[in-house]
Symmetry: C3
Subunit: 447 residues, 3 copies
């Protein structure tokens, strides 16, 4: 299997494209027939030795409708998020700090050496240690973790590393049910002292195996297996590291050059060397920019080809003081908005004449805008910043107001007859925003 | 995002092919375990100023099984079906009349001018009015409307424009639940005097937004917004037009030439300029023709490439007096049959030894033939005409009788042993229809 | 439609790739939240004239979770499994014996002649009998039967022909519900003397049609139709054949040459001439081989391109005395294991700290390993042999122990900190299996 990997890759690009689309698995529980959306904070948390995991309530109607599970991990300096994998693709936004992440793909070679740390008695081991690629991550990065790929993360900085992540539970590659699961290769939530729900979700897969059998499988003494099983481990999911870890990795800019832009043809890229991260704050990549109103930056499958397989995307937005995001609907997926700064009034309307949301949202809030529902943001006096996670790799918006809007695409006569207005008034609806498109400046009205 | 559109298009053709397949979302409600199919008429209707919308009962078992919603819109002359969009792809058959339709794709340029009408005081506005493409539609057209694309329709003829449409609620691009929804950009069902169900399904999205916020978003006076919100609007979903509308549009034949035939390679076609309609009565395109029995014409993703994304197709059939449609099963999707003329006896059989249907059907009836179930039609004395909508872009039939049949593909010995008949009898089963395939002439039997 | 078939083929390869992925339709019934997996035997059987059909209990939680239906057909020598089709793709493993199979694709030409049998009065019929391709099958073959394709099978050998098959009920092409159905073109389970469940699942589709209508459709006497309807037929699903059947077919090796290896580019292959079988015992194709531990052979979409459309694959494994299959998880689908010989201890662990299975399994047992769950086998003193069916065309494993393991891909420092062990111990975990990968030899431990 491994020998045909490049061929497999090529074919997978042609044929596994089905994986790049979310498949809505609409059990009764997931129906989007609820009445209210709301800005919410994480409701549960798992305290670990080296940090904390905060979970948004997966059973909330809005998250059920979108089919996602959201969490925020905070790693203390010099802490390690233990290796784990989940059955669904995950998109991560690095809100604060810096660190290293590694995502392990099966069948890919270990060709990276660990950097020799400054003072260590065991350098003889580390000098010869081969492992898979380790990636530098820092504030503003979007990291893509495919379903089933084991990953770990280390905070090598001097401040907390805060990572907000969303898993798309409805992704087509998930043949289990619509429930968040994490399989840990080490640590795990202690059996005592935690809620049932967390015990069921974050367990160490080694713990329940027969230790003699594992000892034979790894050809190691049982005492090591018992350490792997962490029977009495109370360190949780994030642990303190004894000595600082260091990794030799390819120069970041070089990595950027190699994969930026030209990987879109989908053929020369190799699964094993695929870029898993990009910075969403990158000014060169800004998709929409208005000197008066703000800017929006999208990371989709064109900027990060791995998102083709994961069928997810992300957006970084900033509105200046009192500016607006044009009322619009999203065509290909749900949007999960996480507020990173400022505040805004958010209005969401559905097709049955109901206001689903008309709230002020603040830093740390998360809310869902369901696919096709119409939404608008109006920033407060301090502006508004957000990151949005989307359950499609091909995000596409239909703005109602502005230069690129649906309304502007309609003939005047359709508007005059639809709204029983004069051609002059119809012209105002179409043209009064001039060249502004998605982000709209605050300004005097023309009346 | 807009700048990379052609690239996005190319990639979308490669990678979004997943959207070209229906994904069955089998909630309990949708199980295909019912006992009876039946020819049905629309059970509900929404009366509007300029026409009427008739709805088949979405909750009927046969429509639940197929995951579709069907309706028939009748527009009076000089009436406008108001702009709206729905979360699921729609295929429309123009049963009568003529008109214009526009389907608005996000990110596509407005490069069409409205035609100057003959007598108008406001020609200065109309002369400079840029908008998206407007398409001529007439009797026999199949029109494809992708999920989430806003569209409107205008009857410029002298008779009623009758359009029968089917939405595929199970399409993979729909991440909401399996329920028909329409989002109107104008008008909408009045809050009073209609059934709860229609109020919840056909609402104006502007109505619930804060009018001051909308005024700011469009940079227009609040009074115009209140017109857009149509608070007291009782005109419904289809409205009368004050003066006749006219549009300059590319010559139809030219459009036909440009897109017919060669768009199949999937690369040179642009999302923005994609053909959305074709005529299913076109004699040159007839797929199956028998001088004695009738003909069948299919519009699939080869004839209308947009259907690749929508994973739907349509079929126009005509049986002459007493002719038969060979008993057959469909491999890739459900079939929703709408009777346009004549009558027939329809028999549908399932795999548990039950006759699901054995009824006479007439003009205006609609019924579902579930995927894989065996069906046959026998036309009455006046022949039989129908249009069928299919929940697959790749319709494929397995006839049991006739030249291209499954039975004919089997060795004689398999038939003699399967049915305990003589080779001569087996030969009759295989060969007695001669060169006739799907449509079979009425005729004397050989006994 | 038929005339554009090659074009259709090419496009289907590009665009219907969505069919190559399983779509999980997660009704309440299918949730994978059960507590126990278990090795099970068929629980029901249908006795026919020429053999027996044994069914595993479809409603068992493990089969519900995987969305599969499993059965074992045993054909006596000179017996015929009657023509039938099912709405879901099927993968078959020939456990014993030899025979012929034909899978009928719609629209493909009948260009094969039946072989003249040695002594027959009716050679004039057989000499001119054209039909679709007939394939030789024998022990160790994997046969792929697409959804909706009619097929029959004949045992021309001197011993029983035993075929174990799994249908993927969740496959995207199935727009009916998650329930096994078989549509028979002949025979069928008698209405009396069988359980309700079998009557509902295995019925003759001709039986309920009006016999006069069928007589007209086929243009044959009603008496032949009544034979086809098999009203009083008590022969069931497999029947005895009066005279030995023989077929001229292309030389097997030639068929192998023609399609092996180069069909991967997905363009030159034609649906009609597509290979439907391959031998999984083929030594040249062994994917993993260890002189000490055993071997594993995979049949995926690269070896049998039809599996792209069916999104299934198979695996043949053999462990020598006391050898192990490395603990691992499967990324892209569920695994249904059928034991063909020997015995093993099987342990399966999930993410909520539970042992799902810790049992000894023997010849004839079947069990499910859900996607992402961790599993390991340890063979008994007589070794262990199995065939596994997978609900993905792209099977990929993540082993925990061995040369290609996830653990080996991690830096030493991650392991030392994760498990609180020394670098020396971490090195043992990574390296003690040396070059062994998925199949691990039994051996002394290093302690």
């Amino acid at each position: 299997m491994a020998s045909g990997f490049l061929l497999a890759l090529f074919l997978s690009l042609l044929f596994s494209s089905a994986m790049s689309q979310s498949s809505p698995q609409l059990s009764e529980a997931q129906q989007c027939r609820f009445q209210r959306l709301s800005a919410s904070q994480p409701s549960r948390q798992i305290q670990s030795e080296g940090g904390v995991t905060e979970l948004w309530e997966e059973s909330q109607e809005q998250f059920q409708c979108a089919g996602v599970a959201a969490m925020r991990n905070t790693l203390q300096p010099n802490s390690l998020s233990l290796p784990n994998y989940h059955p669904t693709p995950r998109l991560v936004y690095i809100e604060r700090g810096q660190g290293f992440i590694s995502v392990t793909f099966p069948g890919c070679a270990e060709t990276y050496h660990s950097q020799q740390t400054q003072k260590t008695r065991e350098s003889e081991w580390q000098r010869q240690d081969l492992h898979q690629k380790v990636h530098r991550i820092r504030r503003g990065d979007i990291v893509a973790i495919p379903a089933g790929a084991a990953h770990w993360c280390y905070n090598d900085g001097n401040e907390e590393l805060v990572a907000v992540s969303v898993n798309d539970l409805n992704h087509q590659s998930n043949q289990l049910d619509q429930k968040f699961r994490a399989f840990y290769l080490a640590g795990g939530v202690p059996k005592r002292g935690q809620q049932e729900q967390e015990r069921q979700t974050f367990q160490n897969i080694f713990r329940e195996f027969d230790s003699e059998l594992m000892a034979e499988a790894f050809n190691i003494p049982s005492e090591i297996v018992r350490k792997m099983q962490s029977e009495e481990n109370r360190r949780g999911l994030i642990v303190n590291v004894r000595e600082r870890m260091g990794f030799i990795r390819p120069d970041e800019e070089q990595e950027q050059e190699q994969w930026g832009g030209q990987s879109d043809n989908g053929i020369e890229e190799s699964y094993c060397s695929m870029k898993i991260r990009t910075n969403i704050e990158n000014r060169r990549d800004t998709d929409i920019y208005s000197r008066q109103a703000g800017k929006v930056n999208v990371v989709d499958r064109h900027k990060l080809p791995l998102l083709k397989y994961m069928d997810m995307s992300a957006e970084r937005g900033r509105l200046y003081q009192n500016a607006l995001l044009s009322p619009h609907w999203s065509m290909h997926g749900h949007t999960i908005v996480y507020v990173t700064g400022g505040d805004a009034n958010v209005q969401v309307v559905n097709n049955n004449g109901q206001t689903m949301m008309n709230d002020n949202v603040n830093k740390g809030n998360m809310f869902v805008v369901p696919q096709y529902y119409t939404v608008t943001f109006k920033a407060g006096n301090n502006g508004f910043q957000w990151v949005a996670f989307k359950t499609t790799g091909w995000p596409m918006r239909n703005p109602l107001a502005g230069y690129t809007s649906v309304i502007r695409g309609m003939p005047l006569q359709v508007l005059t007859n639809a709204y029983q207005i004069s051609p002059n008034q119809a012209q105002q609806i179409k043209m009064n925003r001039g060249g502004e498109s998605l982000v709209l400046s605050s300004g005097g009205r023309s009346d």
